[in-house]
Amino acid sequence: MTLFDPGLQPERTALAWRRTALALFVGSLVAMRILPEVLGAWAVVLGLAGVIAAGGLLWAVHRRYRTHHRMLLEEGDRTTLAGGRLIAATTLFCVLAAALTLVLVVVMAITGFSLVPLAR
């Protein structure tokens, strides 16, 4: 495979995206494990939404990387890379997740919920 840059910048960027998507994926799975005892069936909906978002992110990142790779090879380092839509969407998702988490923790505190009852 021909590479644009010996520093592998596009590849490192794709890996950084994948680490982020993986964190979202694991976080969603953990949420699906913890939340049912607090939220009931809604927990599965929220967890699945996170898993689907993480999967969609991996797919979008794959496309983004392939586009960048091709454009950089064809046009060099002053090419027009993809814009900020994926970046904005990721920000929005994480802010929403944080807001939900805030509500969740308040509910957990009010109801006295704990995964480890003896440790309280």
Partner: protein, 131 residues
């Protein structure tokens, strides 16, 4: 890699990119800088996710910490986890704009407050364990 050698015309076929406040001005910077900027954004996102995970873990696991201090630490972590993605986005946009205009790169205004907040959380957890 030289500056100002990219013709202003000839780019008309390029798709319009979001957000216009970033891509509407300046010239294309070296793609390597834009990619590094993107990775910095992602580092902020992962920091935010880690803060959320920490906040939930404190409340969910209990860990023998006094409930009041534990909840305070948890809420502080989660509010920080809400602000870090915003720092990521606005930092990314400002940096990309600076790269396009060849102006000095912005600092991250949330970096120092975040460091202080994590320190405060550490103190709260410590007190919560000792009380």
């Amino acid at each position: 890699m030289s500056d100002a050698d990219a013709p202003a015309g000839g780019r008309s076929t390029a798709p319009r990119r979001f957000p216009a406040s970033v891509f509407g001005r300046g010239t294309e910077p070296d793609a390597r800088f834009s990619l590094a900027n993107e990775r910095t954004f992602l580092a902020w996102i992962r920091t935010g996710l880690a803060l959320l995970a920490g906040g939930v873990a404190l409340e969910a696991l209990g860990l023998g910490i006094q409930p009041g201090f534990r909840l305070a630490a948890s809420l502080i972590l989660i509010v920080a986890g809400l602000l870090t993605p915003l720092q990521g986005w606005f930092g990314w946009a400002r940096t990309e704009r600076a790269l396009r205009l060849s102006t000095p790169l912005p600092s991250a205004p949330l970096a120092l407050p975040l460091a202080i907040v994590v320190g405060v959380v550490g103190v709260l957890v410590l007190i919560g364990v000792l009380v």
